[in-house]
């Protein structure tokens, strides 16, 4: 016997789809609760916390030096940026003047790290839209940067290199020459990526005009970094609030121009990162020859015990505006440490810009936002 299905019992229109935490393209352990109507997505709820390690609370029981390795583990694709931004905050609290050499080395490794992180972003975005080869090509070139970092501090992913007041090691022998060799190798590769992926018709069809993020939406959600710049503003802390010695270098801030579609679409977010690769190379080319001599440990305090007070520092990491708020009450451990993570804010815009699109487009938008779950969950 056939039963007549009562439509009021079953909601036949929509289906909840749990994407993640074990899913190939949620970039880690993100879970997306997607309400779908067929292929069309009507609502997305990102559920985070699968990688939560109590970073901020843990820091309250650690001395300032001990926190550095923990910051590395936040954004594990741009560890140098995390420890650099934390160190800047602590130095601001301690009011330390750094030697010129330290600042130069920090800029060099930061830009190398930015290249490495953007290579992952560019390649993984290709992977998200289904192209596998760009990912292996970008990882091949990122490998060279990891080799350089291995020479520098012995580690390939979590470096613990930038310390408050200085660096753990001085540059190794031949590091500058090796980096220049790498840049000579790397610069033509950017054109290769463009030929393989950026100008591919299918890639443009998949990413242009998809997930358009207007500037006002981006600002309302607190989106920063390349994702914000793709929406058409040149907000880059390296230019607007120069920290370290970025004001000495001549570089452009790429913004999204909507070359293939609308300003702020996925293609723009992707292409801004490709252009930033070139700008980072430009900064490195200026910084590498003019690196002064000096002792990288000279300004390093024997014991970090700041005065009572609080500090907030901003830093332009590969993903956006990293902020460290540190409150000190004169003890060797911070009373409170709060980290503003850019990927957290960037992820929050996902529902706004990708609902109404298809499931495939959610993956595209997520890939173009370039999130790192270690940083979102902390």
């Amino acid at each position: 016997m056939f039963k007549v299905i009562d439509k009021s019992i079953i909601n036949a229109d929509e289906m909840i789809l749990n994407m993640g935490p074990q899913h190939p393209s949620t970039h880690g352990v993100l879970r997306l609760k997607i309400i779908t109507d067929g292929e069309i997505v009507s609502h997305i709820e990102p559920i985070i916390g699968y990688l939560h390690r109590c970073f901020e609370k843990h820091c309250e029981n650690l001395t300032y030096e001990q926190i550095v390795p923990f910051t590395d583990r936040c954004d594990y694709l741009a560890s140098m940026h995390m420890s650099h931004s934390y160190s800047i905050a602590v130095e601001k609290l301690l009011d330390i003047e750094l030697p010129e050499r330290v600042e130069y080395i920090r800029v060099i490794i930061s830009e190398l790290q930015r290249i490495a992180s953007h290579l992952i972003a560019v390649g993984a975005f290709g992977l998200d839209v289904g192209a596998i080869t760009p990912f292996t090509w970008t990882l091949r070139d990122r490998e060279r940067i990891l080799d350089l970092f291995e020479q520098l501090c012995g580690a390939r992913l979590l470096y613990n290199y930038v310390w408050p007041g200085g660096l753990s090691h001085d540059l190794p022998k031949n590091f500058i020459q090796n980096t220049i060799d790498f840049l000579d190798y790397f610069e033509p590769r950017i054109e290769e990526y463009n030929q393989l992926l950026t100008t591919n018709k299918i890639f443009i069809e998949r990413s242009a005009d998809v997930g358009v993020m207007p500037l006002d939406v981006a600002i309302n959600y607190g989106v920063t970094g390349p994702s914000l710049r793709a929406s058409g503003t040149d907000m880059d802390l390296r230019k607007t609030e120069p920290y370290s010695i970025y004001d000495k270098f001549d570089f452009n801030v790429p913004v999204g121009e909507g070359l293939m579609g609308t300003v702020g679409d996925c293609w723009d977010r992707y292409y801004v990162r490709v252009l930033e690769l070139k700008e980072s190379v430009k900064i490195l080319r200026q910084a590498l020859p003019s690196i002064p001599d000096g002792d990288v440990h000279s300004a390093m305090p024997k014991k970090i015990r700041p005065k009572v007070g609080e500090v907030y520092s901003r830093y332009e990491s590969a993903r956006g505006d990293v902020g460290f708020y540190i409150m000190s009450n004169g003890k060797p451990t911070p009373t409170r440490l709060k980290m503003r993570s850019p990927a957290y804010c960037n992820l929050s815009v996902l529902n706004e810009i990708s609902s109404g699109w298809m499931i495939s487009d959610v993956i595209t938008v997520l890939g173009s936002l370039d999130i790192v779950l270690g940083e979102i969950d902390r």
Binding site: P24, S25, G126, D128, T133, R140, I202, I359
Partner: protein, 368 residues
């Protein structure tokens, strides 16, 4: 000699034995032969694909597994032992079936898919005379049988009781059924030109005239429509949306493992070979030697023509492998299309173009 089944039956009729039993034997022997060809094909194709992928991605690919377990840090035969290692792994792997799955359908679906592939192979010749059965409706039969697999795909997606599988199956059904139409329409071109559906006639026509791809501009366009459509029909990148790795985990194959999954794999690669062979037979002269177009009067033709039974196998397989290589090349170069874009390409580009082609080639045939 017309076909394997015919020659077997001719041979059996000379034996004094129960003929109805021998008929079963005459059906089973080619079936086993096709299965062995498919197994060999999947083993070699996977190795080939891994090496092609590695070459395009600046890697080495499988290098470690030596053929006789010879390792010792030395690379031996480019890791060709990987073929056997993979086979053993897939056959001995645990076959996991989800608790809530529809177990009967889940058991059935891989076999429906592979039956579709085996049945298609029955009409695809390897060279002149080396075919299980040379139907008089060969092309029609191939088109019909190659779409049997979609039933298995839908069953697989539905029975695994997984939302990803369901999405994959629904996408796959829409895709395979849609792309059947441009494939059929382009193959109709040669049917119109030759006036026969039989594969032997089609190649004989190309032997007397020229390769069909060079026959007319419409045939040239038709070849590309055919090739892109079969890439879509075999679910290969850039049309691999039913098993879109980054979206649907593994699409309709998500819940399958071990032997069942290897059967899916086997039929996928078999389908690749089938469509490449059909493409080479219909458009690229099948088992004809490419040197046929050269006419040298001062050298005897037999010296350079390289024609005949065994050379026929060689030429057909070479043409098919080149097409398979191009499919692999696509896979490791292109991103994936979206569902609606895929449908757009089929319904708004390929089908109008194929229909126009069909119309124009009839005029072409009337004029010339």
């Amino acid at each position: 000699m017309i076909s394997i089944v015919d020659s077997l039956m001719n041979y059996f009729s000379t034996i004094n034995f129960d003929q109805s039993l021998l008929l079963v034997l005459a059906i089973v022997i080619p079936g086993v032969a096709i299965f062995l060809v498919m197994t060999l094909n999947v083993m070699l194709s996977v190795y080939f694909e891994r090496k092609v992928a590695a070459f395009m991605q600046d890697r080495l690919g499988p290098m470690e597994v030596g053929i006789f377990g010879y390792k010792g840090g030395k690379k031996f035969w480019g890791g060709i032992g990987q073929i056997f290692a993979d086979t053993i792994k897939l056959l001995t792997k645990e076959d996991i079936m989800p608790d809530d799955a529809d177990k009967k359908l889940m058991f059935l679906s891989p076999f429906i898919i592979i039956i579709g592939a085996i049945l298609t192979f029955a009409a695809v010749p390897f060279t002149k005379g080396l075919v299980v059965s040379d139907f008089n409706i060969g092309i029609l039969y191939i088109i019909a049988m190659s779409s049997v697999g979609v039933i298995g795909v839908i069953l697989a997606g539905w029975s695994s009781n997984n939302k990803w599988s369901l999405y994959g199956a629904m996408r796959s059904a829409a895709q395979i059924i849609s792309y059947e139409i441009p494939i059929g329409l382009t193959l109709l071109l040669i049917v119109i030109t030759v006036g026969s559906l039989q594969i032997n006639d089609i190649v004989a026509w190309q032997e007397n005239n020229r390769w069909f791809i060079l026959h007319s501009p419409f045939a040239f366009i038709a070849f590309f429509i055919y090739f892109i459509s079969v890439v879509a029909e075999t679910n290969r990148t850039p049309f691999d949306i039913p098993e879109a790795e980054s979206e649907l985990v593994a699409g309709w194959m998500t819940e399958f493992s071990g032997f069942k999954w290897s059967i899916f794999f086997m039929s996928e690669y078999a389908n690749m070979l089938i469509v490449s062979m059909v493409g080479s037979i219909v458009f690229l002269g099948g088992w004809l030697s490419p040197f046929k177009i050269i006419h040298l009067s001062f050298i005897p033709e037999t010296w350079y023509l390289l024609d005949g039974f065994y050379w026929g196998i060689f030429w057909l397989m070479l043409k098919a492998i080149i097409l398979v290589f191009v499919m692999m090349w696509f896979r490791w170069t292109f991103p994936r299309l979206r569902v609606d874009q895929l449908m757009y390409v089929c319904w708004k580009v390929f089908i109008p173009f194929s229909l126009a082609n069909l119309f124009l080639i009839t005029i072409w045939e009337l004029i010339f």
